[in-house]
Symmetry: C2
Subunit: 217 residues, 2 copies
């Protein structure tokens, strides 16, 4: 059973610590802000007010016994770096960090951090693509050219069987599931009929998917 430590209770660190706790993990949190520590104290295993640049404070917390550490401090780059270096000094090898920008990310990777998180930049880019394409559809990218996406069935598809629609021939799309109201049909067959309001989960080239998305609006 893994033990985690989260250093820095910004919005990312707080959500991470609380969710890990809800999943049943042991979570130690550290922050220099007394009020944040008090507010989270009964939601995690152990909450301690301390400065992450102080290795003795981290040692006395028992950070040595933790399996993985997430350093989620970005406004003070020195604290971010010292937090990571101190965790490494205490023998922790699995360390993650939140980065403030590309340069900070480079430094974290050079320090040997296992993975760097940039939630604001990542979502900014994703939302830009959503606003550009006009929808907030969940897409699973299989590679640079293929994706899996859920599309609203077109009116012209209603009442037809998958065999009649022949999306594979016409659009290069493989229908891998059909959602009718909230019921998922994960083994669609050629004789299945597409109903008004159905959503089709399709796999295919991005170009074909974009084509279908445009038609459905």
């Amino acid at each position: 059973e893994k033990q985690f430590a989260v250093l820095g209770l910004g919005r990312f660190g707080e959500a991470l610590a609380i969710t890990l706790s809800e999943l049943g993990c042991n979570v130690v949190v550290v922050d220099k802000d007394e009020e944040k520590i008090q507010n989270i104290a009964n939601l995690v295993t152990y909450a301690v007010q301390a400065d992450v640049t102080d290795i003795n404070a981290l040692k006395s917390i028992g950070l040595k016994n933790v399996d993985a550490v997430v350093v989620s401090i970005t406004s003070d780059i020195n604290s971010s770096i010292m937090g990571i270096v101190n965790a490494q000094e205490l023998g922790i090898s699995e360390i993650y960090g939140k980065a403030n920008n590309a340069q900070h990310e480079k430094v974290l990777l050079k320090l040997g951090v296992k993975k760097v998180f940039s939630p604001e930049r990542d979502m900014g880019e994703r939302v830009a693509h959503n606003l550009f394409s006009g929808d907030f559809i969940d897409i699973l990218e299989l590679d640079t050219n293929h994706s899996i996406v859920e599309v609203e069935s077109l009116h012209i598809w209603e009442g037809k069987t998958l065999e009649q629609l022949n999306l594979r021939e016409k659009h290069g799309l493989n229908v891998i599931a059909i959602r009718t109201l909230d019921v998922l049909n994960a083994s669609p067959v050629a004789s299945d009929i597409v109903r008004s309001g159905d959503k089709l989960i399709v796999m295919g080239e991005n170009r074909s998917i974009n084509e279908i998305n445009k038609l459905s609006r």
Copy 2:
């Protein structure tokens, strides 16, 4: 062709504005910080230093002609709210906002914002699930019980055909694609052989997927 305005050049707003520009959209950005405006000026259509609480400044920028506005200011909740209210006063109906916390999010939704973004909280929760399950696999959730995920092929699968593996019978998993090195086979057939190092993209119940994930480690 849609016109966008981004108010507030934090990490989220900046990534959003620059990505929209790279996608070929017209983007106006507003921030009270002169330096940020100068640094982004040649990356977007139009960058203006202004205070979003000043409706006349927004009017003189030509915000009335924009189709959608994203207000990405969170440290100053008053600026966030005034930015949204001013955009509405200028007749813009498609407005998005970044929220600092759950309470801020409630207010934005009450104001009629179309969608609220909380990148730090969302990624904090997602990373918690990844750390808990021990991997950072991309998952597409079809509903509360079914997902699509990519798994490493198990050693005991190597050299067998999909028909021999019969994952549908044994594990309730539908193999919808096979990735060999970087080549994607998006139309797998029963006679396809699974090779060492192949990744299988499977669809099925979450319980079955978790089972396979555990076996593959």
